[in-house]
C-alpha cells in the first residue's frame, strides 16, 4: 500500500474511533432525566417546535372525539314501531 493511502486509512480509522469515543462517553441518562422531569412536572410531552403562534403545539388539538356529536339515527322503522 502506498503512503498517501496508508495516511488516508489511518485518518478514517481515527475519525471512527473519535465518533465511537463520543458515543460511549455521552451522558444519555442526564438528558433523559431532565426531559422526564419536565414531563412529570407539567404532565406534557409535546415538542417545543419553533413554529408560528397559530400553529404551535397543535398536535394536541388535531384529534377529535370519535363519538361526538354522533347521535343514534332515526330509521323509518322506528315510526312504525312507535305506532
Amino acid at each position: 500500500m502506498i503512503k498517501p493511502f496508508l495516511s488516508l486509512f489511518t485518518l478514517l480509522f481515527l475519525l471512527m474511533i473519535a465518533v465511537l469515543f463520543h458515543y460511549i462517553n455521552y451522558n444519555f441518562t442526564l438528558e433523559e432525566k431532565k426531559l422526564n422531569q419536565i414531563v412529570v412536572l407539567t404532565s406534557d410531552a409535546s415538542l417545543a417546535l419553533s413554529v408560528g403562534y397559530d400553529k404551535s403545539r397543535e398536535i394536541r388539538s388535531s384529534t377529535y372525539n370519535s363519538i361526538y356529536p354522533e347521535l343514534s339515527t332515526t330509521s323509518s322503522m322506528e315510526f312504525v314501531y312507535a305506532q
Binding site: 414531563v39 412529570v40 407539567t42 417546535l49 408560528g52
Partner: protein
C-alpha cells in the same frame, strides 16, 4: 493474488487516477452526508420524544365548544376520580402568551406546586434555588429560549404580562431550565397554577384540560368509553393517539428523505453513465494491457472490485462520520430547522446520539450495489474480449 504487491498496484492505480476518483468520492460524500444527517436528526428526535411520552399521562380530557377546545371545568376532575380504575387525575393549565411587538409566543404552564409530586419535581429541576421564596411570590421558571429572548428585549429578572383584563402583572424570573430540556421546555414559562390562570384569563374553576392515568392498560378502551359517556362535549385523547400523530408528523418530514434519495439515485445514474463512457477509452486500453501481460479475467475483476469497494468505503465512512459530527457534536445547524422550525424562539437542542444500524446498512447497500455493478459489468465485458481488440 491478494499479496502485498497486488495491494501496492491497487493503491498506485487509485492514486494515479486520483482526480477522477476524488470527484466521484466528493459527490457521493455530499449525498451520504446529507442523507445520514437528516436520518440522524429524525432518529434522535423520535427516540427522545417516544421516551418522554412514556412519562406522560395516559389520557387527556378537554371540553369542546363549537367543535374547538374550550376551558374545561375543574369539577370534571372529581367526576373522573369516581370512575373505578382511574388514577392520578391532574388538571392542567397551559396556553400561549403572545409577545406582540416581536410576533413571538411563549408557552405558559401552570403547575400545582402543592401536590407532592410537583413539589419534588420542581426541587430537582431548580436545585440551588430556594423553593419557599419561589412559592411565596409571583415567580416563574423559564426555558433557555425564553430567557435568551427576554434578555435581548431587556427583561432580565422579570417580565410584565398583560392579562386579558388589561392589567399588567409583573412576574419574577427565578431560574432558567437547563439546555438539556430544550426539546420540550425551550419556550416554556412554568409558574404556579393560580398565576397562570390569571395571566391566561381563566376563572378559578377553569383549566385547559385534565390528564389522568389508567392503572390497568387492558382497561384503556373501557375507561375511554366510560369517560366519553360523562359529557357529550368532551374530547379524550390517549397517549397512543399522540404517538401515532407524531409518527405521521415524521412521515410527513420523510418526504424530505425521499427527495434526498432521489438525489442519491440521480448521482448513481451519473456515476453509471460516467463509468460506461470511460470504459471505452483509457480504461479499456489498461484492461487490454493487463490481459496481454498475463492477468486472468478473475484477476482483473478482483482488481476493479477492490478499487471500487475502496472508493465506496472511503466515501461512506467519511460521509457518515462527518454527519455524526455535524449532528451530534455541532447540533446540526440549519438542517435542524427543518424539524424544529425557526418561526418562533431560537431553539438550540442538543441531539441525543442515536445510530440506527438498519438505516445505515440500507443506505450503504442502496449506494454500494449500483456503484459496484456500474463498474464491474463494463469491466467484465471488456475483460472477456481479446487483449489485442481491447487495446484498439
Amino acid at each position: 493474488m491478494l499479496n502485498n504487491s497486488f495491494f501496492y498496484f491497487l493503491t498506485l492505480q487509485l492514486y494515479k487516477e486520483k482526480s477522477k476518483h476524488i470527484a466521484v468520492v466528493l459527490l457521493s460524500l455530499v449525498v451520504i452526508f446529507l442523507l445520514s444527517s437528516v436520518l440522524f436528526i429524525s432518529s434522535s428526535l423520535r427516540y427522545s420524544l417516544f421516551e418522554t411520552l412514556e412519562a406522560q399521562p395516559d389520557f387527556v380530557v378537554t371540553k369542546l365548544k363549537a367543535g374547538e377546545p374550550s376551558t374545561t371545568p375543574i369539577d370534571w376532575a372529581d367526576e373522573l376520580l369516581e370512575i373505578y380504575g382511574i388514577s392520578k387525575v391532574t388538571p392542567r393549565v397551559h396556553g400561549r402568551y403572545f409577545f406582540k411587538s416581536k410576533d413571538k409566543s411563549f408557552l405558559v404552564v401552570g403547575v400545582d406546586f402543592l401536590e407532592e409530586q410537583s413539589h419534588k419535581g420542581i426541587e430537582s429541576l431548580i436545585s440551588g434555588t430556594d423553593i419557599k421564596s419561589f412559592l411565596s411570590g409571583d415567580n416563574m421558571i423559564v426555558g433557555e429560549g425564553v430567557k435568551k429572548f427576554l434578555e435581548k428585549n431587556y427583561y432580565r429578572n422579570s417580565y410584565q404580562f398583560l392579562t386579558p383584563k388589561g392589567v399588567f402583572k409583573k412576574v419574577n424570573i427565578v431560574s432558567t431550565l437547563t439546555d438539556k430540556s430544550n426539546l420540550l421546555a425551550n419556550d416554556m414559562m412554568i409558574m404556579p397554577q393560580a398565576l397562570a390562570q390569571e395571566i391566561l384569563g381563566y376563572g378559578q374553576d377553569e383549566v385547559t384540560d385534565i390528564a389522568f392515568n389508567v392503572v390497568n392498560p387492558d382497561e384503556w378502551q373501557n375507561i375511554n368509553d366510560k369517560v366519553l359517556e360523562l359529557h357529550y362535549d368532551l374530547r379524550i385523547v390517549s397517549k397512543d393517539e399522540i404517538k401515532k400523530l407524531y409518527q405521521n408528523l415524521y412521515n410527513y418530514k420523510g418526504g424530505l428523505f425521499l427527495s434526498l434519495f432521489i438525489v442519491l439515485l440521480l448521482t448513481f445514474s451519473l456515476i453509471l453513465y460516467q463509468r460506461y463512457n470511460m470504459i471505452y477509452s483509457t480504461e479499456r486500453r489498461n484492461i487490454g494491457l493487463l490481459r496481454a501481460v498475463g492477468w486472468s479475467i478473475n484477476d482483473i475483476l478482483k482488481l476493479k472490485f477492490l478499487e471500487t469497494i475502496s472508493l465506496v468505503l472511503i466515501s461512506f465512512i467519511l460521509g457518515v462520520t462527518l454527519a455524526y459530527i455535524y449532528t451530534f457534536i455541532f447540533d446540526a445547524p440549519l438542517l435542524k430547522e427543518i424539524f424544529l422550525g425557526a418561526e418562533n424562539l431560537e431553539n438550540s437542542v442538543a441531539f441525543r446520539p442515536v445510530v440506527e444500524m438498519g438505516v445505515l446498512s440500507s443506505i450503504f447497500f442502496i449506494y454500494a450495489i449500483p456503484f459496484i455493478a456500474s463498474v464491474l459489468i463494463p469491466v467484465w465485458r471488456v475483460a472477456i474480449t481479446d487483449a489485442k481488440e481491447a487495446m484498439l
